[in-house]
Symmetry: C2
Subunit: 462 residues, 2 copies
């Protein structure tokens, strides 16, 4: 593997240019207006797998967007690594808050990325991190350094709930058989503080609609006499948290796995500076569930957040109207062992129960995902830790993060194999936000580190 550094130095420009081309494709899975672009991104990924040296590749159709598959089998008796990633991206809005167009990548230096960072939607989540694996495979295959078999499964619906993936896994269990699943769709604490994500929160995402009068009304003539759906929705949402920011949905916490004092103490060792945290976000104070630290609130505790709300007149100027309908998108982050479907049902029942008689309420589930925890004693975790030690010169910190990769739990259920999350992005990379970026150093460091995971995983598997 010693040649990896030179290989990167020689091919750095090409590695960057190829990623830039992929980032130019607005593969927004949430918006059907971009269907052609999502498909174009899938084709781009298949071509890149062929160029990396895969024996066979395939664009596998699903009910939704296709899954790009590729494999390089060198010996059936050797272990097999299955790489998962996604080629779809989040919508870029609010677009006017981007310093450069979201799909016209530019490389700029930042305080945290002195060697420059690629600014574009999907640069970190997940095109950039997914493409590291394609380039790492290219190195191993072209230089006969591939120590085991590798399979790629790159999907196009991760940002909208991976709706087609469960069926895809069921239908291709044999083709996808593997010994370990490797994903880079998370972050690390800092460039000098490598970390491996050992826990992920689950997700329940719903859209609610509150209907008052059957038409928009003049607020002067009807104001104060009829149920205003916006006021009602506000009251209902406000009531979902009590004064301690505990979620009030009946039975919501029943299955929450409480984390032991010992484990909480262990996690507390991860470097975290509350003042820096507040400063970076420009907030005078944090806000969250009483009895837990900020890092616990976004990692080991379930939460409820409104992701979007709209109703009535939102244009320029003033309109004295009482809207007929008000809407909100609400997501709940879940922890072991909360079940998304069950939580969605609890939410729906609770939300309907708190609606005043004067309004009608409709709850539409969007998508969900199971929470997940990795075992630190597993071969996969050990191999990943050694890989980081080799290229970073430091032992990575095990970290539970708040994000969700719903399919990780699904993999364990259907493919019966564990997943290792080697993330190379930073929290400050603004994924899902305007000006998303991914450090050039991080991109190349990922390409450098990944081959060692293959090396150590194969050795430890003997």
């Amino acid at each position: 593997m010693g040649q990896i550094k030179n290989y990167i130095t020689e091919n750095k420009e090409r590695f960057l240019n190829e990623l830039v081309e992929l980032l130019k494709i607005p593969s927004i899975s949430a918006d059907t207006a971009y269907t052609k672009d999502v498909i174009a991104a899938a084709k781009f990924v298949e071509k890149s797998l062929q160029e990396a040296g895969c024996d066979s590749t395939e664009i596998c159709e699903t009910k939704g967007y296709p899954v790009v598959y590729g494999e390089k089998i060198i010996d059936k008796n050797l272990p097999t690594v299955l790489v998962y990633g996604h080629y779809d991206v989040q919508p870029p809005d609010p677009v006017d808050l981007w310093d450069s167009p979201p799909f016209e990548p530019v490389i700029k230096k930042t305080e945290l990325h002195p060697e420059g960072a690629i600014f574009a939607r999907g640069s970190c989540d997940d095109k950039g991190q997914m493409y590291m694996h394609v380039k790492a495979a290219e190195f191993m295959i072209r230089n006969n350094e591939l120590p085991c078999n590798v399979k790629f499964m790159i999907e196009g619906e991760e940002e909208v709930g991976s709706d087609s993936l469960a069926e895809f896994l069921e239908d291709h269990k044999e083709k996808l058989s593997n010994d370990i699943i490797l994903i880079s769709d998370t972050g690390m604490i800092a460039n000098d503080v490598p970390s491996i994500t050992t826990g992920l929160r689950g997700l329940s995402y719903v859209e609610v609609e509150v209907t008052g009068p059957n038409r928009d009304l003049h607020s002067g003539i009807y104001g104060g006499a009829v149920p205003n759906p916006i006021n009602v929705l506000n009251k209902m949402i406000a009531s979902l948290h009590d004064e301690n920011n505990h979620i009030t949905i009946k039975n919501f916490y029943d299955k929450v796995a409480e984390v032991s004092a010992e484990e909480r103490a262990e996690m507390a060792k991860a470097p975290f500076n509350l003042e820096d945290y507040k400063k970076t976000l420009d907030i005078a104070d944090v806000q969250g569930e009483a009895g837990y630290t900020t890092s616990e609130r976004y990692s080991i505790r379930p939460t409820l957040d409104v992701n979007g709300i709209w109703g009535g007149y939102t244009g320029e100027g003033a309109k004295t109207v009482i809207a007929s309908k008000a809407y909100a998108k609400i997501s709940m982050r879940l922890v072991p062992h909360q079940d998304p479907d069950e939580i969605t049902e609890l939410f729906t029942a609770h939300f309907e129960s708190i609606a005043p008689k004067g309004v009608k309420v409709k709850v539409t589930p969007h998508h969900g995902g199971l929470p997940y925890v990795t075992n630190m004693d597993s071969l996969g975790y050990k191999a990943a830790a050694k890989a980081y030690e080799t290229t970073f010169g430091k032992t990575p910190i095990p970290e539970r993060t708040g994000g969700s990769i719903p399919i990780v739990a699904l993999f364990e259920q259907v493919l019966e194999s564990k997943t290792i999350l080697m993330g190379f992005g930073l929290d400050s990379d603004a994924i899902h936000s305007p000006n998303e970026h991914f450090g050039v150093w991080n991109y190349l460091k990922g390409i450098e580190t990944i081959p060692y995971f293959y090396k150590y995983f194969t050795e430890l598997s003997k």
Copy 2:
């Protein structure tokens, strides 16, 4: 005046066609994209005043949209009626809820309008009702039936708070001098239950902005740990009403004129059927301040309603984001003797005081208006009552309505004259809503009734 009926019969088609032409102009004052159309509507109105027989007309520039002025002075010693109306309209959205395009007027029969109603934005509020006065003047002037002097003052900023009118009144006190102001910008109880509006609520309209983190965040990574501006805004708005739907803003009710039990009993005589009310709006229950009837809630009591709210991701599908900002447009209807500016200050102080430390709050006043009450013993009220008795064969019911015509109080302050509100629309005409319409019968009945007001007011003034 006896010829008025024949005159209407002979000119009915023309009266309708002229109004339809005016309604085709999208004179939306709230949206600067329609500036040219607002100006076009002003020119249309001036031309119509010339054709009606005014001696002089003028488009008077202001800091905002112009005021169209016209006059017919027959004798300085006779009384002068000043007609007020507006040629601007509310935005039509949500446009997709209109059965026909808002600016392509169509005449259709409805249950309440068996002779047909004109469907178009502004048909009732206020182009149709304003144009009745132009046609009534045309009749009186062309048939030498005008018993006194008449002046017209038709503005183009009523739907956005008449910002330029106060200065206009101050600058043209002499030109606008009058003995009574006549306005048709309200409604009546039913076609067989004529009514005169004796009370109007005032208005305070504000826009609020709540800022949490300095950028949109991934709800998985930050959810539960930072102040979510949408959740915070919801809590703040929810807290503006207590469990009895009393408004919680400090000192909000201090100056509210409590209505006597006698007067409340008098008002209770106006026909009102709660079941029909709920049925028309398709709501299972009404909602409002404890201790007051539905008709009291929208007439003699102040209220607070959210007219619009927005924040976060409101597009198709799901986006797991925590927004940086959330917004709402909030209006308060005021009663004698609440002062809009004072209420706006009370709201701002209160809203800022209830904001949690983690967010920043900005309150922007949009516009306001003073509440108003007409004296039933005035010459103007008596003349109007007699006019209705003549054409409807019934004594009109004095009615306090919830809407606001902010400038009515202003007229009394600056021009020192009272205003008579002769409204011919119905509450069900859906002003400010999709499918706004105005009954053809009501339009013609207005043209028939108005000349009698001039007759009786002149006689009673002798």
